[in-house]
Symmetry: C2
Subunit: 664 residues, 2 copies
């Protein structure tokens, strides 16, 4: 098995640089500078001289370059970093420019201070919402069969829970650093079984080994915790955050972690959500819970990353005033200003759950006194499981540039009391599959997330061009253009044949792939479409609906409140709309539904045709990998087209204007 | 743990008979007469004399009593059997009369020659569609946690696959014989893993031990086989029934079985269905497959029981002419007369799958030259999982008295060339739960199935009275009346709040409990309701539909073909009916749907109230067991009521005539 090198192809880089002589001009040696030497000497096999005069390329650490220690500057044969981390980023970006044949001139510092990947890896080697094989951190050597099936019970574990594949982990650290990621959490936020024990011996020692590897790449390591750990593994009778014994237990545990992992990042916490334990069960609020942990972290410089994905997963569909979209706002808005400085709220970009289309979560812009991170999902839970093509950057960039309360892309930073404790975070999409992401083209989202964090001003097109140039180095421009066009339209295509107009969760429950129009309609998870013979959609207006639209700044609220002002893409998220209602596109709702599903499916057929034409023009492995995925995507798109069209035809009784085949 | 004795309560029987002296007048000693002695002496601890003069009760085998060896006659102090089996049945029926305080006079012979229970038990101890704990045959001693979840992968097995609980098995044999069951298959018809190996050493030896125990109770033991066994465990490259090596392999395996189990019953075969292998994959038909096996069984007197539950589980919902209801007929009707004498077709009572309401399978009456058995399901896969109360005898008896081609209850016998090779069979409902059936009241279905097989003329009410009198011996009449009324209306109540009017499979996929209106609507299993804004139902008429109604005898076909003649209970099975169509009940379809769901739920509340009034009047264990189940049933009925009413309100837009609450 040849593990895919993604966009960092050693032999190609080596060839470009083999004539060069490097010289490192450092202020001091540290883990990162040592990694930089390793990258040059071990990884690429290049020449590093101790004599500056012989050098053709000089790498310099210069703290005066910027107050931002991660900043770098590239000027032809000179790479500068404000710190060794800055220099490492400068080096990888130098490689990018070199591979793309671009002018070696760039000056840059990251838009977001924290650029984090959350792993939902479990100690049995499975990954919740993983579509690319088993965990690279945990699991049995050689095993790669267990992927997400929507059932999250742990398998039986025998022996060591760690996979111990440090070759993989080193490659992974390199990918992460090359796109600017500087924080990672290793384990699923739903912490089960031995996952609870990762924070104590003998497990924390192995976490320490992994953390040391990542430190060299400028990456801090975090762990997700189970809120009930004091009870589950501490032998206490309570996990009440205001209980003295509980505080003392956490203090001891955290102190021990720093003995073993001196640069440990902190904890990621999912509490009081979807059945997980939390402070609510002791009558405490989220600030009580987070601040208690934060106090023990403060002396060590550690962080408490507290997720706001908190909602009552026992919603009764009978009550249409219940609105899961309001849950995070209602749980956290009143606590603005109550959290300690080393607490960060991790807030999903939208109010529901990484959906095909959601508006911006209204907490962004509204929260003014709380450190915050915006959460994305690189793994394609709702976006096609890395089977269907879906380059998601267009969606993410639209979200981060949505303006609520006069702020746009800098919302999270400017509204965080400590800018250093703010940023972007995403659930990762890699696993033990040969190409890391199941679908080779899904690497673009992993790459894109990092690049978006680093530079909020890049466009989806620019990021994709970068990725394509680096990934398909020797491929001719026409072929690259084909892939470019396919990916650039993939997100809107997926939306078209699945759930356009922000309809919501019409997916197979738990599994979240393929259509199940009423899969969640009468269930307890709080995501409904309310389709009837007249129309569909969720009335979230203030006047007649759940009042959700009123959570936005007045300028946005006014738009979302008004069915005639709400953009088509979001209309069913905010309004119950009759089938014969005319959208901004000049067509009725029902005709729009039909059109998008017919067009979406046809577009996938075009994808397939375009891809077939690439045979022989790109490497065989990638060609076959994506061909197989497209085969499945065609089936999926067909199922969506036919089930959605038939369902709404049966409901509405309205014929397709163009007489296309709708099964009755 | 005290294992429930069901209707055979030792201490009560002992008390009634302790003054008696028994004498056995046998023609010869055999396994069954030995069991009879054991029942008297070991089980009940009664006095058996070798001196007829001392006897107060005499048990006689008299072959002249009847040509039917299973016949018995009870005359006060004399119990006669036409064979030792007949005498054993006479003895248990004597106990029944005694326990009920009835006159000791009865002459009887069985209506059905074969009276069989199929177990869907798996070698890992789980039971497919089991709702009463793990298998009594297989599994780890002490384990009883694994019940049906709709996922049928085998668990890992360590060590012996057999449970070896012969105390349980002896009790079970007694229950079976007491209600006249004379055949049993031990393992699931979907034969997986080591289940395939049960027919060979070292497993067949343990099957032999079980079979010997059951022989004493007059019960023959069968095994389900995997059609691909020659390939899977025989080392052959094919399972083609016309391949000589395949025939030779089966002959050798069957010969060996009879060396170990001299009175082995035969095989039960599910072939070419729901993904299981079968003769179709070699271009052979079902007669080829069955007759090949039958040839090897013939010298040993063994049977091949071949299931007709064969359908294409890859149905495309887009084609409304596809009709799973026709599948068995289409696969088997043309083969009538082609099967060997020792082959029996096992045919489900209805054309789909043990549903809440189905018409009679049209093969009954139409098949004239093929031995046949009618198949029922005691385990409540579609009828409430033994959580919801559902005394199913009213439904079964209606089915067996349905007249197709001039025959009614004797169809299966009269149309079978060898009457001895015909009968009724059911999937059992017992497991390792303390009360065997999960719900104490579900014992009535197990009891009732046996009684219905024995005597087709018993009514549901008579059977229930028997069971109640024997089960609640010391309970006062008023309390028994309460339970009687509750059970007698339970089947129609379940139908009312779930899927009345033969709507079909609106259930949670795989799991088959609780509502999921579109759970199967766009799936590959071929059971659809086609609801739209105008109405719902499946058009199975000859003129405009799938043509299924034409498979019946002209008198029945004429009724089912005509929407105005089809009984309300079956109307949506045969017709697409508009919401405003007036049913025979004088109400519109939509109002009938609303009424039944409101009334059904209210009835369950009444059940609960009636049951609560029994506290202190019946034993505490039963009281609590059923109370807990009723709690769950109320929730289930509420979910059904609200989801069905809301769904069809959203679809039809028609308000409830009485303004009851329908959530919108």
């Amino acid at each position: 098995m040849m593990i895919d090198e993604m966009w960092l192809q050693k032999n190609k880089l080596k060839k470009l640089l083999s004539q060069e002589v490097f010289f490192l001009d450092l202020v001091k040696e540290d883990a990162v500078s040592l990694r930089l030497r390793k990258e040059l000497i071990e990884w690429l096999g290049l020449t590093v001289s101790t004599d500056r005069a012989q050098a053709t390329i000089v790498l310099v650490v210069n703290p005066e370059l910027s107050v931002n220690a991660e900043a770098y500057e590239i000027q032809e044969n000179l790479i500068k970093g404000a710190s060794s981390s800055g220099l490492l980023y400068g080096f990888y970006n130098f490689l990018r420019l070199k591979l793309r044949g671009k002018k070696l001139e760039e000056s840059s510092e990251p838009s977001q201070a924290l650029r984090m990947i959350n792993h939902w890896d479990q100690v049995d080697g499975t990954i919740e919402r993983g579509y690319a094989g088993e965990s690279i951190f945990f699991g049995t050597p050689g095993s790669n069969d267990n992927t997400d099936t929507g059932s999250f019970a742990l398998r039986e574990i025998k022996g060591d829970i760690f996979r111990n594949d440090f070759t993989r982990l080193e490659m992974y650290g390199r990918f992460l650093a090359s796109i600017g990621i500087n924080a990672i959490s290793l384990n699923n936020v739903n912490v089960r079984g031995l996952g609870t024990n990762l924070i104590v011996s003998p497990y924390i020692e192995k976490v320490g080994e992994i953390a040391r590897l990542f430190s060299g790449f400028g990456i801090k390591t975090f762990l997700s915790i189970n809120w009930a750990a004091p009870r589950l593994i501490g032998g206490l009778r309570t996990s009440d955050p205001l209980d003295e014994a509980v505080c003392a237990w956490w203090k001891k545990v955290i102190g021990h972690i720093y003995d073993v992992v001196p640069d440990f990042g902190g904890f990621v916490v999912k509490a009081d959500s979807e059945g997980e334990p939390g402070p609510y069960q002791y009558g405490r609020n989220h600030a009580d819970g987070a601040n208690m942990l934060a106090e023990s972290f403060a002396p060590h410089g550690g962080l408490v990353i507290w997720r706001t994905f908190v909602y009552n997963s026992q919603t009764d569909w009978r009550n249409r005033k219940n609105d899961r979209a309001k849950a995070a706002y209602e749980n956290f808005m009143a606590l603005d200003g109550d959290f300690a400085d080393n607490v960060i709220l991790q807030i999903k970009f939208g109010p529901i759950d990484f959906g095909v289309r959601e508006p911006l979560m209204p907490l962004f812009g509204a929260l003014k006194k709380t450190n915050q991170m915006m959460e994305f999902q690189v793994t394609a839970e709702y976006l096609g499981h890395q089977i269907d093509l879906n380059y998601v950057l267009p969606q993410w960039l639209e979200i981060i540039h949505t303006d609520n309360y006069g702020l746009a892309k800098d919302t999270v930073k400017e509204n965080s009391p400590l800018a250093a404790n703010s940023g972007f975070v995403a659930i990762g999409n890699v696993g033990m599959d040969e190409n890391w992401c199941g679908n080779k083209l899904a690497q673009a989202n992993f790459y894109g997330f990092g690049r978006m964090c680093w530079n909020n001003d890049l466009t989806a097109a620019e990021i994709l061009r970068e990725w394509l140039d680096m990934t398909f180095v020797d491929v001719d421009e026409r072929a690259k253009k084909t892939i470019y066009e396919l990916l650039m339209t993939s997100n809107q295509t997926y939306e078209a044949y699945t759930t356009p107009l922000a309809i919501g969760n019409m997916i197979v429950p738990h599994y979240h792939y393929g259509p199940s129009i009423n899969g969640y309609e009468y269930d307890r998870w709080g995501s409904y479409h309310f389709a009837d013979r007249n129309g569909l959609g969720v009335d979230r207006t203030m006047v007649t609906g759940t009042g959700y639209s009123g959570l936005y700044a007045p300028e946005l609220a006014e738009i979302y409140e008004d069915i005639n002002k709400t953009p088509d893409e979001l209309i069913l998220f905010f309004h119950f709309v009759n089938y014969d209602h005319l959208l901004h596109n000049g067509k009725t709702l029902i005709q729009t539904i039909y059109d998008l599903h017919f067009e979406g499916y046809n577009k996938v057929l075009e994808f397939q045709k375009s891809w077939q034409a690439l045979e022989g023009k790109i490497d065989e492995i990638t060609f076959r990998n994506v061909s197989q995925r497209l085969e499945l995507q065609v089936q999926n798109a067909k199922n969506w087209r036919d089930q959605i069209n038939t369902y709404f035809y049966r409901m509405s009784g309205v014929e397709d204007k163009y007489g296309r085949k709708i099964f009755n």
